[in-house]
């Protein structure tokens, strides 16, 4: 089994709802964006096209971050999800330099959004985070363990995201990749990302 995600760029309207719900689900501190949406313009007037591209950890099958991690804090679950054991991380940030997708964040110190003290939401949510370590998207693993989809998938209002097993040839994600020409970012680096994009 290898969990993966397909993001349909034709359906994505760039509302950044996935980014917001990721923050809400994972209570990430300021400056830590496990999921972000970038806008990309191409072409020349009057043939200009603007598309929104959601970016998050690609959960590569051959993750360069895992290879360089000196402590084994970065590891891969049997289902393909690349995760970080915060208790093992020393905060050397080598994985940040190795990730070609720049999807890892270092939490130098715990900061709060609106005041010097944490809000009640942050008090609860920050129990999952540590200072001085690196963090990133884990496909909402706690939700998966409860039989739910990742928060970004469940809350995408245009259903641009599909989540499933890439190893299963009859799964929805495999079909989409096959039928709609799904592509990966920087395939030439040999990382084999588990996130595929469908062309706009």
């Amino acid at each position: 089994m290898r969990y993966g995600m397909v993001i349909d760029l034709k359906r994505c309207i760039g509302c950044t709802g996935c980014s917001v719900v990721c923050k809400a689900e994972n209570a990430t501190p300021p400056g830590v964006l496990w999921l972000r949406v970038i806008k990309h313009e191409s072409g020349k007037y009057p043939q200009v096209r603007r598309i929104s591209i959601p970016l998050q950890c690609m959960h590569c099958a051959e993750p360069p971050c895992l290879e360089v991690c000196p402590t084994g804090a970065t590891f891969q679950h049997p289902n393909g999800i690349v995760d970080i054991d915060a208790d093992k991380c020393v905060g050397c940030r080598y994985c940040m330099m190795a990730c070609p997708y720049d999807q890892r964040f270092f939490n130098a110190e715990m900061r709060y959004y609106f005041q010097e003290r944490p809000t009640p939401f942050e008090q609860v949510g920050y129990q999952r985070h540590q200072e001085g370590v690196v963090s990133k998207c884990n496909f909402c693993l706690p939700r998966l363990e409860r039989g739910l989809e990742p928060a970004c998938v469940a809350n995408c209002m245009t259903k641009a995201r599909t989540f499933g097993d890439l190893d299963n040839p009859v799964s929805e994600v495999s079909k989409l990749v096959r039928d709609r020409g799904g592509y990966q970012l920087y395939p030439e680096l040999g990382t084999n990302p588990s996130i595929y994009y469908l062309p706009p």
């Binding site: 501190p29 300021p30 400056g31 830590v32 964006l33 972000r36 970038i38 990309h40 591209i53 970016l55 360069p64 290879e67 360089v68 991690c69 000196p70 402590t71 084994g72 804090a73 093992k88 991380c89 020393v90 905060g91 050397c92 940030r93 080598y94 940040m96 330099m97 190795a98 990730c99 070609p100 997708y101 720049d102 964040f105 270092f106 130098a108 110190e109 900061r111 959004y113 609106f114 005041q115 010097e116 809000t119 540590q130 200072e131 001085g132 370590v133 690196v134 970012l185 920087y186 680096l189 990382t191």
Partner: protein
């Protein structure tokens, strides 16, 4: 919840003092850039990593040359430089108290391999110095620690470049030329430490053969820097952008002033003069000092000019 206006909340967030690392606001702004700069290894506490690589490289290089020339002050200086470098490494970590965990990734991580090499060097060099100063010399025990410390020093000289070169996210570093450059700079740094010490102590006559060697190292390093920049200019648009940052952008000042002028041009000029005629040891000491500043500058410039690949591809 206290009644605080939105404006004051925002201004409080922005006016918080600069912490030891790039601010979250800076990171958010960087994410909007097409070519995003890496800051974690070049700003705030990241400067400690640059200092660490400089100190360990120069220290290990000094140890190797000191063994070659039998120069005792160089052995002591080399050992302490590596120790200070290791301390800088330690305090760079986000969670230094867990540093021992870094020994576990020896199979795949160059940082882990570096820690093993540094530990081997520091332990062997410490025992060797104790034997050198307080016990009989030329014993088999001393020979064993001589070999072990030399192995550790070579390890320290070699591993650093591979740490940078194995960073797939930064095309400027992800090239086999970087290890060659770092090895060259570490050896050059070691020779420079000896020249500085040679100008301060009376033993400098023992370092005579070092002068042409230092000139050769300076010239070969300059050539290697040129080759590196030229190769990286043709290694994709991100690497080209990084080289442009070094040559014309925000890293140009430390590059031209520190790495080129102070680190290469002046040392080569003084080295050439020393090769042609006798110069006072103080001038050679100055050459070594400038050379060391140049070494620190080039490590900083390469780190600072690192950019991530643009997204989308």
């Amino acid at each position: 919840m206290p009644n605080v206006s939105f404006e004051s909340r925002v201004s409080r967030l922005e006016l918080r003092p600069e912490t030891s690392n790039p601010k979250p606001e800076t990171r958010i702004n960087d994410l909007r850039e097409r070519f995003r700069p890496q800051r974690e290894w070049a700003e705030g506490r990241g400067l400690l990593l640059i200092l660490a690589h400089f100190l360990t490289g120069a220290g290990a290089g000094a140890w190797i040359f000191s063994m070659l020339f039998g120069f005792t002050p160089g052995l002591v200086a080399g050992f302490f430089l590596v120790v200070f470098g290791a301390l800088a490494h330690f305090f760079f970590l986000g969670r230094p108290e867990r540093f021992w965990r870094m020994l576990t990734g020896f199979g795949s991580s160059w940082i882990s391999r570096g820690l093993v090499g540094m530990s081997l060097f520091m332990a062997a060099a410490f025992v060797y110095l104790l034997l050198w100063f307080f016990a009989a010399r030329q014993t088999s025990l001393e020979q064993i620690f001589f070999a072990l410390s030399l192995l550790g020093a070579l390890w320290v000289v070699v591993y650093k470049g591979f740490v940078w070169a194995s960073s797939k996210g930064i095309p400027l570093w992800n090239t086999p030329l970087v290890p060659a450059l770092y090895i060259s700079y570490a050896l050059r740094g070691g020779a420079a430490v000896l020249m500085v010490l040679g100008s301060l102590v009376t033993q400098h006559a023992a370092l005579g053969p070092l002068e042409p060697l230092k000139l050769w190292l300076a010239v070969s390093t300059a050539v290697l820097v040129l080759i590196y920049l030229e190769v990286m200019r043709g290694s994709g648009m991100t690497a080209l952008r990084s080289v442009d940052l070094m040559l014309f952008g925000r890293v140009a000042l430390p590059f031209y002033l520190g790495a080129v002028l102070v680190g290469l041009v002046i040392p080569i000029a003084i080295g050439g003069l020393a090769y042609a005629r006798t110069v006072p040891p103080e001038l050679l000491g100055l050459l070594g000092l400038l050379s060391l500043l140049g070494d620190l500058s080039i490590i900083y410039c390469i780190a600072k000019a690192g950019l991530y690949r643009p997204l989308p591809a």
